[in-house]
Amino acid sequence: MSAASPLRRMGLVAPALVIVLALVGVPLAIMAWVSLLERGATIGVTWDSAPSFANYTRLAWEEDFDGTMLLNPTYLIIQLRSVAQAFFTTVLCVLLGLPVALWMSSLSKNQRDIAVLLITIPFWTNLLVRNYAWLIILREDGAVSHFANAVWPFGPVQLLYNDTAILIGLVYSFLPFMILPIYSGFEKFDWRLLEAAYDLGANRRQALTRVVIPLAMPGIIAGSMLVFIPSLGSFVTAAILGGGKSLMMGNLIQLQFGQSRNWPFGAALSVVLLALMMLVLVGLALWRNRQGGKI
């Protein structure tokens, strides 16, 4: 390549860069700017208001009548709950997805194709419809509820309209995003390495933790991002299965832009959500670098 090639390459990627900048960068900048302004009288934004961090302070503090700031944990709890929900969703998806992916890769070629098809079939129906389906499955007089109450020894079980319901819904919605990247990693996996591990005295658990899981790590990380990030921002599942009682950040943001008509506060919440996601991505990137970048 010639010395001018960096410039030429810039020229080639420029159109794409412009589009990304116009369609992602500019709206993000507008959102960040709006989060610093005051709400409009009825709807929208007071564009000529002086920018301040008031919307961000509102996340944790509340102004009392006499002007003193009081700690208001409501929004913090919602944020914390969102992160916790997304985290547990990811963990459950790993725990369920890894064995499924392992099992899939042990099938014959034809059976694998069928398995992949079965896993992608839920995407053929709308997310909303699927969440409503869970509403019916988990309803109070349903078979699942009866069964759960029969086997659970510690008093009555409420399956719907709580954090458990949201967790079930989220895991169900995002599990395929965990299974498929892990499975695609296993497809390239050299199973003779497993034989080598056994040969060197590793039992099944050791072979799993020392050889299979480390080699499946790229898939697990990719799957975790694909599950964690949309879970953190999801609102349909919480709205339907949480019954509006258990809010997540997505619901809160939707509320601000909808009923509350407080766009600047909604924008501030969105910025915080974005920051949380970036934090996770950067954390993962750092962790991977420390692993030597090889896996």
Binding site: R192, A196, Y198, D199, L200, L215
Partner: protein, 356 residues
């Protein structure tokens, strides 16, 4: 019926892959007793079932029938990690996510030894294969021969009682290969490890082994010491597979064998009159005839001076080639020239006769 001396006892083992009509019989009724501390070699052409036999001993394949005992105990129902054997895999099978040192330490860590002990013994094993300088590299950053040496170190580090080696030196250059052969043999003798060694290289098999099993098509044709295999092959296939040999076809005629090239050999070697037979003789056991000896004529096609001997490539009356390795040319006499005619003598004691 179990031999108490045996480290490994393979008893009428059969194995096929696939089911029903499409099943391929890969091993048929194989029986071997391998002694403690023995250097035992499986030798045979590609696809004859060497790797399959090793995999059965290591526990990666299930037997169709028969049984396998290690140190007198049946192991054929045990998973690989419960069998006291380690394997050097034909394809190395190094862990790509671990460094060279971590690969070699793997088995030691499974034995829950102390950290210091793990490091010391992994270091020793790497030293032995001259890979200590590469301890921190990943397998993907090594050449094929280097990977092979790491695979060897990894299997040796836990000091197994039995080591299964599937062509462990095949990727090394000649010089390193010779060095590693010597070191393997020393190690095997000093550490008292039983080796089951697979190779394509018959010279390697002859120089290293206590005993050799020559396999063909899933069967063991001959199981004996290297000397016996070389000097008294039991089958025409074994004779042909190991070393250079001249195979002359002929027919038993009364008390002698009439060869197709016109010569005849006295004695019928236990074959009935009228039988087609093959007479085999090593190039170094045939010689140029002295006057008065039974002989036949041949034309010199090519003569190569080898230092310790002269290799003559001859053509017989029926057009076939005949190799003759003559050590006594040079004591005054000039080697026969190309195109000249010589007479060849086949000493009776050097002949092997197989049913054709």
């Amino acid at each position: 019926m179990t031999n108490p001396q045996s480290a490994i006892s393979v008893q009428s083992v059969s194995k096929s892959f696939g089911r029903g009509d499409s099943a391929i019989k890969v091993l048929q009724d194989v029986a071997v007793e391998i002694g403690t501390r023995e250097f035992f070699t499986l030798l045979g052409p590609s696809g004859c079932g060497k790797t399959t036999l090793l995999r059965l001993i290591a526990g990666f394949e299930e037997l169709d029938s028969g049984s396998i005992l290690i140190d007198g105990e049946r192991v054929d129902h045990l998973p690989p990690f419960r069998r006291p054997v380690n394997t050097v895999f034909q394809n190395y099978a190094l862990f790509p996510h671990l460094s060279v040192a971590q690969n070699v330490a793997f088995a030691l860590e499974m034995q829950s030894l102390s950290r210091a002990e793990v490091i010391r013994r992994a270091g020793e094993a790497l030293e032995m294969v001259r890979m200590a300088a590469f301890a921190n590299r990943k397998p993907s950053e090594l050449s094929g021969g280097q990977q092979q040496r790491v695979a060897l170190a990894r299997a040796l580090a836990p000091r197994p009682k039995v080591l299964l080696l599937d062509e462990p030196l095949s990727a090394l250059d000649l010089k390193l290969r010779k060095q590693m052969q010597i070191e393997l043999k020393q190690l095997q003798a000093e550490a008292g490890i039983t080796f089951v060694f697979v190779t394509h290289d018959q010279e390697e098999a002859l120089t290293l082994s206590d005993r050799i099993a020559v396999m063909q098509g899933g069967r063991i044709l001959q199981l004996d010491t290297p000397r016996a295999i070389y000097e008294r092959p039991s089958h025409r296939f074994v004779a042909d597979f190991i070393g250079d040999i001249n195979l002359l076809e002929g027919k038993v005629d009364g008390g002698a064998i009439q060869l197709d090239c016109g010569a005849s050999v006295a004695g019928n070697f236990g074959h009935a009159p009228g039988d087609r037979v093959t007479v085999a003789i090593r190039p170094e056991r045939a010689r140029l005839a002295k006057s008065g000896e039974g002989s036949f004529a041949a034309e010199v096609m090519h003569s190569a001076y080898l230092g310790t001997a002269t290799l003559l490539q001859l053509r017989l009356a029926d057009g076939r080639e005949f190799l003759l390795r003559e050590t006594r040319i040079g004591e005054g006499a000039a080697p026969p020239e190309k195109g000249s005619r010589v007479s060849v003598h086949l000493p009776d004691s050097a002949l092997q006769v197989f049913a054709a």
